[in-house]
Each structure stands twice: as structure tokens, then as C-alpha cells.
């Protein structure tokens, strides 16, 4: 490496040497990802063609685009798998900064849909900065908890840095050393979730919050805090639900946005259906229920004919249940569990603490999203728009997802996992 060479080329070359990764990937993880992707594409096509035919006059309207993005996504996935995980650790401030910037900029950009700030329109496609935020939260979590991991089991009072300053100011012993990464991390992902909430994107907010919690748990925050805050959280949710049900008919008592409150009431009271709040949920339930054990067979859903609204999106799993039945749905859920399991295995065999948390964070994000999506489709929790990874229609999020899977594969290249 000579300084005399062309500056830019030398930089690329030096970066290449620093971050390129030639180990072999975990083939099992790749197989699971591809299996889910293929199933997802087939099911997305099956679920979407009547809607596409009726609304766009072209039954391949969605699958064409989705397939193209899938190809792009696979290319990006392999590209990503060649980047060393250390790159992401170094990129943490950039990723965080870009995320905050994007989350802020949507407030000043023209609204893609009235009342909602969550999209950025790129002209050929739209994407939600909250997708980036989820990734940033994972990277940030992995960063802080790997950096301060030694202090996680310490019970000493923090001395250095900002925590030490705070302790000196207010009096000794307030902030322990083990709290430092959590404070740093909470500041970041708390800010992200608040911004996303302000964008009127409740589901994104929930996901970011959930991913944050997962990262804290993986990072070693003591279990008792999860018990304490979990109990408080559940209690608060219960109180909110009771309050909403008690004051549902009274004017001016709602402190949540109208549509949120309506969905909660609709979830608790199955007969409450003004302006068709429960239409989508009921149609999904009809679809799931009418599938039975073996389903109606691939392509044979009737509920996708304009009953389940936009069947290619958040409610796609109901069509999966209708066509493939309980058996097929269970297999797909198990496939997702397998993905998470393999991700965890990759993480545990990773070279660095950062890459361990990065890989596990990414697969748990997928697992969390799957659980929430199916819980919504099966009316287990109030309706909120969370897409089903690999299945729901959406080009940028599919590319993003595959890129993240690529990062997990990248971690597997560096790991000590026995390769085949």
C-alpha cells in the first residue's frame, strides 16, 4: 500500500482489505432464507392476483415488482455477506446520524398520504425511515453493549465520562457503571421511537421499542429490570384498555389518536364496528377459519377476492392460512423459528461480541415482526400495520430485509461455526 497511488483507488483498496470477508457462509441459514423467500413470493402472488386484476387490470402487477426486488435483494444480500461485521461497528455513528436525519426530514417533506409523515418518496419507490431506524437500533445496541460489556456485571458507581459527572453533581452513587450503556442506548432508541410515534406510525414505534428491549436483554441488562418494567408496562396497558372501554362513549376523553382507540375498542369488543373498524380483522378471521387443517389448496382462497383488503400486505398470513391450512401455517411459523434459531447459533459462534449481538438482533427483529404480524392477523392483539417478512408486498423493505440477512451471513463467515 503506497501513498503515491491514486487517492480514491487506494482508499477503496485499503477498505477492501480491511472489510472484505472471504470466509464461507452458513449454508443452513442461507437455505432457510431462500426457502422463506420462495414461499413468500409464491404466496404473495397467490394472495395478490385477484386484487391486482380488479384494481390494476393486471394480475401480475405486484408479483412482477416483488420478484424484481427479490433478485436485487439477493444480490445485495450476497454483497453484504462479504462485509466484515466490524464495518458496521465503525459505521454506528453514521447509521445513527442518518437515521435521526431521515426521521426528522419526513416532517418537512410533502406528505405521501394525508396525515402520515412516515414515507419518503423517492419517485420510483417509497420507503419508510423507520425501516432504517430498526436497523440503526440493532447496530447501536450491539455497539454499546459490546463496548461496555465488561461493566454490565459490575455494581460499581460510575466514575468517568458523563455518568461520573452526573454522579458528582447530584451526589455519589446514582448511576452505576453497568447502567451506562443502557442510558446511552435508551437515549438513542427512545428518541427514535418517539420520532416514529410522532410520524403517526404506531406499529413502527412498537417494533423499535421491542427491538430495543431485545437488544438490552441480549446485552445483559439484569432480568429483574425486565420483570419490573414489563409488569409496569402490562399494568399500564391494562389500565389504558379499561379506561378506553369505560369512556368509549364519552366525548373528549380520548388521549390516543381516534383510530388507535377505535382499534383497541374493536379488539376488546368484537361487535364494535363503526365505519368497518373490524371489517379487515373479521375478514382475516374468516379466511383463517375457513382454511381448516389442510387448507383450500394453493390459489383457492376465496377471501382474497376483495374481502381481505389488500391481501398482499399485512393480512397476507390469513390467506396463507386459508390456502395452506393449519398444517401449512404451522410449517411456515416453524421455518421462521428455525431462522431465528440459526441466527442465534451464528451469533453465538461469532468472532466478536458486536457481531454476536448484531446477528441475534437482526434475526430477533424478524421473529418479533412475525409474531406481531400473525398476532394481528389472528386477532390476538389490536390491529396495527406490521408486515410479514418475506411475504408482504413491499420492494424496499424486502431489499432491506435481504440485506440484513446478508449481514447475518457475513457474521457467519467470520465465525467459528463448523462449516460444511
Amino acid at each position: 500500500m503506497s501513498r503515491q497511488e491514486n487517492g480514491a483507488a487506494s482508499f477503496v483498496k485499503s477498505m477492501w482489505h480491511r472489510f472484505a470477508n472471504y470466509g464461507s457462509i452458513d449454508i443452513w441459514f442461507l437455505i432457510i432464507v431462500l426457502a422463506l423467500l420462495c414461499t413468500g413470493l409464491v404466496m404473495m402472488f397467490s394472495a395478490s392476483y385477484p386484487y391486482a386484476q380488479i384494481m390494476y387490470g393486471d394480475s401480475t402487477n405486484f408479483i412482477k415488482k416483488q420478484a424484481l426486488y427479490a433478485v436485487i435483494g439477493i444480490v445485495i444480500m450476497f454483497a453484504m455477506s462479504h462485509i466484515k461485521s466490524d464495518f458496521w461497528r465503525l459505521m454506528m455513528p453514521v447509521v445513527s446520524g442518518v437515521t435521526i436525519f431521515l426521521l426528522l426530514i419526513v416532517f418537512v417533506l410533502p406528505q405521501y398520504r394525508a396525515g402520515f409523515y412516515r414515507w419518503i418518496n423517492l419517485g420510483f419507490t417509497t420507503f419508510q425511515p423507520s425501516e432504517i431506524a430498526k436497523f440503526a437500533v440493532i447496530v447501536a445496541g450491539a455497539y454499546y453493549y459490546s463496548k461496555y460489556h465488561k461493566k454490565m456485571s459490575s455494581s460499581k458507581v460510575a466514575k468517568g465520562g458523563w455518568a461520573g459527572l452526573v454522579n458528582n453533581k447530584i451526589g455519589a452513587g446514582l448511576i452505576k457503571e453497568s447502567w451506562v450503556p443502557t442510558w446511552m442506548f435508551c437515549l438513542f432508541f427512545g428518541g427514535c421511537s418517539i420520532l416514529v410515534f410522532l410520524e403517526n406510525h404506531l406499529s413502527g414505534c412498537i417494533l423499535i421499542f421491542g427491538i430495543g428491549a431485545v437488544m438490552m436483554y441480549l446485552g445483559g441488562v439484569r432480568t429483574r429490570w425486565f420483570v419490573i418494567f414489563g409488569s409496569i408496562g402490562i399494568g399500564l396497558i391494562a389500565i389504558v384498555c379499561i379506561y378506553i372501554m369505560a369512556t368509549r362513549d364519552a366525548e373528549g376523553t380520548n388521549f390516543l389518536k381516534g383510530y388507535m382507540e377505535e382499534r383497541i375498542v374493536g379488539w376488546l369488543d368484537k361487535d364494535y364496528d363503526p365505519r368497518g373498524v373490524r371489517w379487515q380483522t373479521n375478514q382475516a378471521l374468516y379466511a383463517i377459519g375457513s382454511g381448516g387443517f389442510f387448507g383450500k389448496g394453493l390459489g383457492n382462497s376465496t377471501q382474497k377476492y376483495m374481502y381481505v383488503s389488500e391481501p398482499q400486505n399485512d393480512m397476507i398470513f390469513s390467506i396463507v392460512c386459508e390456502e395452506l391450512g393449519f398444517a401449512g401455517a404451522t410449517i411456515i411459523i416453524l421455518l421462521f423459528i428455525l431462522l431465528v434459531y440459526r441466527g442465534v447459533v451464528i451469533g453465538l459462534n461469532a468472532k466478536t461480541r458486536f457481531s454476536t449481538m448484531l446477528a441475534m438482533g437482526l434475526v430477533f427483529q424478524v421473529g418479533l415482526q412475525v409474531l406481531l404480524n400473525i398476532a394481528v392477523a389472528s386477532d390476538s392483539i389490536p390491529n396495527t400495520g406490521i408486515s410479514l417478512p418475506f411475504f408482504s408486498y413491499g420492494g424496499t423493505s424486502l431489499v432491506m430485509l435481504l440485506a440484513e440477512m446478508g449481514i447475518v451471513l457475513g457474521v457467519s463467515r467470520e465465525g467459528k461455526l463448523k462449516k460444511k
Partner: protein, 764 residues
Amino acid sequence: MKAAVNYNKRGFYALIIVAILAFAIICRLAYLQLVKGDEYTAKTESQQLGDNEIKASRGTIYDSNMNILAQSASVWSVYINPSKINKISDEAEREETREVIISGLATLLELDEEKVRKYTEKNYSYQLVKGEIEKDTRDAILAFIDEYEDRDENPLDLSSIIGIDPDVKRYYPYSSLASTVIGFTGSDGDGLAGIEYYYNETLKGVSGRTITALNGNGTVMPNQYETIYEAQEGTSLVLTLDIYIQHILEDVLSRALEDTRAENVYGIVMEVDTGAILGMVSLPDYDLNDPFTISSEDLLSDYEEISAMSVEELTENDIPQEQTNKSYYRNVQWSNRAIVNTYEPGSVFKIITAAASIEEGLSDTTREFYCGGSIDYATRHINCWRTSGHGSETFYDLLKNSCNPFAVTLADELGTSRFYDYFEAFGFTEKTGVDTAGDLTPTEGVLFMSREDFSKSDLASYSFGQSFQVSPLQMITAVSAVANGGKLMTPYLVSKELDAEGNTVREAVPTVRRQVISESTAQLICDNMEQVVATGTGKNAYVAGYHVAGKTGTSEKLVVNNKKDTEAYIASFCGFAPANDPEIAVIIIVDEPVGDHGGGAVAAPLAGDVIEQVLMYLGVEHAYTADEMENLVETAPDLKGLSVPDARNKVGEKNLTIKVIGEGDTVISQYPEAGRELPSDGIVVVYTQPDYKAETVTVPDFTGLTVSEANRIALNNGLNIRISGSSLNSGTVYAYKQSVEAGQSVHMGEIITVSFKTTVGVAD
């Protein structure tokens, strides 16, 4: 030092948590798919099952000459989806769309623009703009939608906002004619009154259906089953009603309603041999095409007056609360009183008493009776309507004089049981069986006494038609039995049912309920009844040449339901003609006439008028008696081409008068034309110059004149009069009606029909 964070444990625990949650969700799916699967499958199928009704078109109703009385036609209703307008995001486009729709629909549908604007501002997804529009209007709206959708510059998506639905409308070409008989249909297409109600199932047909799988937009799912059940068109009905007879009856009765200022008038014309109803009118009536509007001005003013009253005023005037509601007046105009109303038949019922007495052999034509003006019977003192008494009477005088003591005596001879047998036999205790809505169900103990409770005192009242109630249809059916030789018929209105191709699927067969009296008894009572009209209380029903038989009746209404502070009466006449070979029976009932209230004075002239016109329409030949011949008819001789002296001779032979106009020698033209019927002392006007100008005269007012006065004035004016109605006892009859109104200009020699009636001896 122990590892700071045990990733193994943490990752593993997190995985376990995810797996547990996934298991919970799988359990939830198992519950939904395996436990609730059938329930959800059923719900899915039911919402996807498109079951579209194919409406059968309702059958047509014809009169006996196949004139259409009721017919269904396709119409359309126009609606808009205002929420779609309000959802248009671009404001300029939204407002343009709104303005285009407002001006377009307001013009095409002839509506007020402000009204349409209000519709567009609502936030519904369905707003009816106008119903029952015709095909042209519908086509115009479709063209209007296309015009804006296809225009090159800034096309508007009107077809998603404006919608047109097919609908059916029932048309009644004769509006109010026979309205209370035909009835009408409601917005759902089902009959609500009259024939439309009674024959609803027949007329309606059987709707078909298309069963399809539907998608969430309500359109047909591809590749799914579709089953079509064809609609079965409604059956058409041919009524026994004849619109000409209906017209005649309605004309006469509506004039009577005006003249007598009665609450209601109603009447029936029945074919005596079959029981077929040829005409049936109940006034006031309504416009079938607009049944919810109160048509009668009297009813409307009653409604306005009463609905404005305070509660105190209502109590003070004894007016029931229900009369403040519009629906009360609607029901009044919709009701077919000829079937549903009950009244005391009064003296008309003496026909039955007389018939029973003859049939049982208790009387014959030689029977004599002395009427002293009253009779004491069963602890009661019963007056004859003529309190001075009728003196010595023969059997004929029973009906002719309408003598109450005579009737009571005959009933007494029959005894309660035998009298009650005839009361039952003539059908007063049972439904008539007529095939329309509202056939009266006589309620024992309410409208008439049960056989067990039928006392001697009741017997006395019943003998002259008091203290029980019958419907007009029951009465005319009973009288028809006398006219047709003793057979009590089931009255009916529908003679034929036709399928969609016009084939007869059912033809009514006249049904004899039973023989109630022998033919000879019937014949004898017929003769009796003819005398009533010839010389008795019914003489106002007299029609020269048609041998009208009948009986008058007057009864006091027990329940007075009006604001007039007087006693209320029902004047009725029931009869038939020609007496020697009866064809039609007629009943006329004037409910609460003001002024004259006797059946002979009020109802009989109307019946005579109806009988004369109906028999002429039916083409029944006049059969004049010798007396009538003298008084009446001559045919105008053909004088054309004759010399004036020859013409004079020819006219002279016939006892007619000739009036020659012009200086010529031969007759060029004459009026009335050859062959027309003239009164026997009539006038013929002849013109002798080729350039003649037809002379005209002004018709004088004949009303109130006697026959001879009318004749003289007619002759002086160069007019012929044809005398109609009671004319035999010419000293006491007065003209009450003329065919051409006074003051009109007519040809010299024109024949004017003047109707006469008497006020003497017709009090009952």
C-alpha cells in the same frame, strides 16, 4: 473473572421466549382453524353467496273488454354517492364535479338545483335523487355521464358517483275509475288494497334468483358456480267490471254526492244470473296513481279543520282523536264501502219477508191486510211510516206501500225460527265469498242476533229491516236471488286469469250457493217489485221501456259520525231490470244525505238513471207498454227529396210537427236525421234551400218543470225532449236533470233527454 455477559444464556432464553410466543400463536390458529373452522367457513360462504332476486313482472288487470286497468312498467331510480364527491382530493376537480352533477341532474330530472346541491353535500354513500324516471330520462342521464367521462380535457368520473337502478312502477290508466275496487301497490310492489291485495300472490308471480359467488365488491367471482332460477311472470286478471258501466255508475253517483251533500255514496251493478259484478263504486275515492294524496276536497277540508283543532275542541265536538291523523282520511278514501260498510237495510228487506211468506205458503196474491198506521206486537208499539195508515191492502201493497204492520204480521206468521231460516238462507249471516279484500264477516251478536237470542221483538224489527246490519253486497246478492229465480250466487270480480302468453289459466264459474226460494215465488216477488217502481215508493226509478223492479229503503243511522247536528239517514234503493227477464241488479246507497233522505226520493232516481244507461249500453231492447207507447217514441221519417207538401203529410201521419225553413219546394236536409227516436209529439226541422244555414237555438232550463210544461217549452223552442225517469203520474213529477245544460246552443230539432222524478209517495 466470569464472562461479563453470558450470550449463550441470553440468546437461548430469548429464543425460548420467541418459541413460546410462536407456540401460543399456533394454538390460537388451531383454535381458529380447527375448533371454529366450520363457523368461519359458514360465514365466509354466506357473505360470498350472491343471491339476486329477479323480479317477476306483475300481472296486468283488465276490465271485461280487455281495457287495461292496471299495468306495470319498467322505470328507473337515480341515486348518487355524495361521499365519493367529497373524497375527491383536488379541490378544483371536486367543485367542478359537484357543479356538473348539480346542473346536469337538476335539468334532466326537473329538480330544484338547491335540493340537488344539498344531496351532494351529504356524507352518505347512497342518496336517492329521484325515483320512477322513464326510459328517455334514464338514457339522457347515461348520455350525460358519458359526455363528461369521455371528454378529452379533464374527464370526470361520473359513473362512480351517479347510479341508476331498475325499478317497477304500477300505472293505472283510468286514475280514479274503480279505484276502491282495484286497489294499489306499495313501494315493495305488493298490493295494499282491493284486487291488488286479494290477488297479490297471483299477480305477483314468482321471483327468480341468480345464485353466484361474489367477491368483496359484490361482483361475480370468476370461475365459480352460478345458478339461475327463472322468474315466473305474474298472472293477469280479467275483471267482470266493465269500464263503461263503471263510468255510468260513477257519473251518476258523483253527481249525487254533490247534489245530496252526503258523506258517502256507493253502489253496485251486478249480473243477476251469475253474480258477476259489472260495476262497483264507492265515493269519495282517490287517484290510484297517487293513493296517498287525499283526493276529495271535502275530505281534505275536514282533515285540515279537524287536525287544527285543540284537544278541548275535539272533546267538545265528540270527534275521536284518530280523525286528526291523515291516515284516517286515507283509509276513508281507500275503503270500498260497497263491500265493507254495514247499514240497516230498512224496507228493502221487506222483499225477503214477503218472499219467505209466499215460499212457506202463508200468503198468496189474494192476501188482504188492513193497515191502521201502527201495530202492537210483542210488547212493542210499531208505527207504519205513514202514520195515518194505508187502510185496506192486498199482498201487492206490502212492498208498494212499504207497509210496516203488514211486514210484522207476515213475520209473526212465519215465527222466529222459520224467519231466521230465510235470514240465513239469503246469506246475511255469512260472508258473500267475493274475491276481493274486505268481504264483510258478519259478526253474530254484533251485526245480527244469534238464532238462540232471536226474540219476537227482534222478529218484528227484522221484518222491516231494522236493528241489524248488512253490507250492500250482501243485500244486492240477496235481491239478485229473487231476480234470477231463487239462486243465491257467490259474487265475483275476476272472470279470468291469463298467463304471460295470454292463455286462460283459470276461468271463473258462476257459483250457486243454494236455491233459496222457488222460481214461482221469485217470479211473484219480481212482479211485486215491478209494481213498487211502476206505482209505489220506487217510482223515481222508473225507466220507460225497461220494466224496472225494485224496493226503496230508508234507515236512521244509529252511529252518527259527522259534524252535522241532525239525524243521519241512509237512503237506499235495490232493484233490477228488466223485470220480465232480469239482467242486471243495482244497489245504490246514499249515506247521510242532506235534505231529502227517503230512499224513494234520493236513491231511486239514481238507480233509474243507472239502469237506463246500462241497459242501453248492453243493448237490451226497449219493451214499451201501451201507455208508454202513447207517450213516447216515434222514429223520424226520411223526408229528403220529398216535396214540401208530401213531407208535411208524412210527418202528419205520425202526429209529429214539422218546421219548414227556406223558400224551396223540396226537402234538402232534415234534423233530426231519419231513423232517430223522437217523442211522439216531437218536431222535425226541414231545410228546402241548397244554401241553407242550420238554425240553432239556446237550450232552456227545464229543471223543476212538470212533464207538460217541459213539453210546451221544448216545442216553443223548436226542440224535442225525451222524457226519462218517472213520468206516469205526470202531475207530480218534476224535471231534475237534462242531458244538455241550459244556455247551450244546439241544432233546432235536437233531442234533449230530461229526467223527471217525483216527491210524492216516495218517502220510504
